[in-house]
């Protein structure tokens, strides 16, 4: 079942009425539920723009995007916020944890937005942090963590409320290779255990190697779409 459908999507960046960049030029893409896939391409190819559009962080200039069958083009800002809160998790290149909150509070914030009870929130955080090997970081603030630790907490924040999709924008770009490999391995396990769809924007060969499917963008267009042999989806 497709979790994301992108049809003829274009995205222009406009400043003072002038188109300054044409980031996407008629992209078509379907992502099935439970996929572990990557969008690759050189800098400026439109990877992050496509991820932002899929994640309802930005609006397409033309074309249609559906998340779990629901077209997002006509949704209000509040509805888009609710969609992101309930169905989409994000992992960013620069971790982007809220610096004034501890690791546990960062993860708890999303669940609080969803209105989960405090006891349920605490139970989920304890279980997930334990599973991800970061239990000892629960009361630590981001600035006192390493990059790898921060990114693990960011992954925990992204999946703790059990979204259907996790969008990860260059998640390993700021990590050393070993830490990056360990992190992607963790996400792979979560993908298999929980059936969460992972979509990476990356040009890290290690991530591309781990992905079941690689979509390559060049100049805002899909240049290739390869599934690895043995991929179950």
């Amino acid at each position: 079942m497709p979790v994301i459908e992108v049809e003829h999507v274009t995205k222009d960046y406009v400043e003072k009425g002038q188109v300054t960049a044409r980031a996407l030029r008629g992209v078509d893409l379907t992502i099935e539920s439970g996929e572990f896939m990557a969008i690759a391409g050189p800098s400026g190819s439109g990877k992050t723009t496509l991820l932002n559009l899929i994640g309802a962080l930005d609006t397409a200039t033309s074309g249609t995007i559906r998340v779990e069958g629901r077209e997002i083009g006509g949704l209000s800002q509040a509805e888009l916020s609710d969609l992101r809160r309930d169905r989409i998790g994000f992992v960013f290149q620069a971790y982007n944890l809220i610096p004034v909150l501890t690791a546990a509070e960062n993860a708890e914030y999303v669940m609080e937005l969803k209105g989960l009870a405090a006891a349920d929130r605490q139970r989920r955080i304890a279980g997930l942090f334990d599973r991800m090997g970061i239990k000892e970081l629960m009361e630590t603030r981001p600035l006192k963590m390493s990059g790898g630790q921060q990114q693990r907490v960011a992954v925990a924040r992204a999946i703790v409320s059990e979204p259907a999709i996790v969008l990860a924008d260059e998640p390993t770009a700021n990590l050393d290779q070993a830490t990056g490999r360990s992190l992607v391995g963790l996400m792979r396990e979560l993908n298999r255990e929980r059936g969460i769809t992972f979509v990476f924007s990356t040009h890290d060969p290690m991530v591309l190697d781990q992905a079941d499917r690689v979509v390559r963008l060049v100049d805002g267009q899909v240049n290739s779409d390869e599934r690895k042999a043995g991929s179950t989806i």
Partner: protein
Amino acid sequence: MRTVLKIAWRSIWRNRRRTLISMSAVGLGLLLVIVYSGIMAGVFGEAKEQLDNIGMGHVEITAAGWRARHLAEQNIPSPAALVARLDLPPRSDVGWRVVTRALLSSARASEGVELEGVDWAREAALSAHVRDVRSGRRPNTDDRGGILIGDTLAERLQVRVGSKVRVMAQRADGEIGAELYRVRGIFHSLSPTIAGHRVLVGASSAQTLVGVGEVAHQVVIQLDRAADADRVASRLRAELGPRYQVLSYGDLLPMLRNIERFSDAVVWIAAIFVYGLVGLGILNTMLMSVMERTREFGVLRAIGTRPGRVVTQVLGESFWIATLAGAAGLLAGLAVTWYGSEHALLTIGGGEALEYAGTVLRSGVKTRVSLGAAFEAAILVYVMALVTALYPARKVARMPPARALRST
């Protein structure tokens, strides 16, 4: 809401120096407004004290035409009955006086004076000089031969407590009335006019002197709130009809009323400037704080925070700044104003007092503490803080998350 306030609280301390500078500006602004309004209230504010110094009422009732000619027969019959039927605001003081011009003679000299026949207990509530007897005492209610005179007059007539004086005044029947009195007390007044020209005797004694029955020439009312004077005067005027003239202190001393209005306007204009500066200070702090964290707000939006909650988040930071700075400014403002109400903060002119606009002020200016005005100022600071923070809050909340995330 708890999480919003928690994040806001922690966020304001991320740049401790900037927050403290911003809080200082807000707190100082509030302190200035409270102290300045306390000074202005002390100098001009409520007219109660100034009127008290000259024994004048916020509202005065006389027979129609009495003020023009001061004739003994232009009087208010049965003043006690009249006062009993007046519907006055709570905590009002009211009394009546028999008033006549007279010649006061001692063994050494004579002086023209203004004689008031009063009910001593009521008059003490209306006139500061009746309470400020520096030598001797106030005559008793049944003391028909006792007189109270000002210290300057006593000096000129060379009389002391116990001295005998003679008073002559024109009677209602056209004859000259005369009575002998013994000086029971010598009062002090901030007003040189009162200290040098006023004497007081019991009401019934004055009625005998001028040959009238149970009448008075003035009914004097002091209200708890000077601001009620015009309204009360207008109501009494309608109730009492054309036989009486009812005037407020603003009618009697229009200059005083104008100065009061002017001082109120000055306080407001100064407050607007201060609040404007406070608002700009908060706006600057919040704009800087929000703009340098645009990416962070983008993250909040990305993980599902609605724009309204982002606005609340920013307002929460402004709320904490205003709360801490407001509390400090309020306490400091009240402390300085309280100190100023005990010890004069500044002096106008020389000597003990200053006559202006028909009234008398102490030259040492003491502030007047008003909890209501201070809290009003603090609430305005709150409103200002929240209103000015709305702009950066809405700006960042409306930004598309992707654009916010791109900012550095």
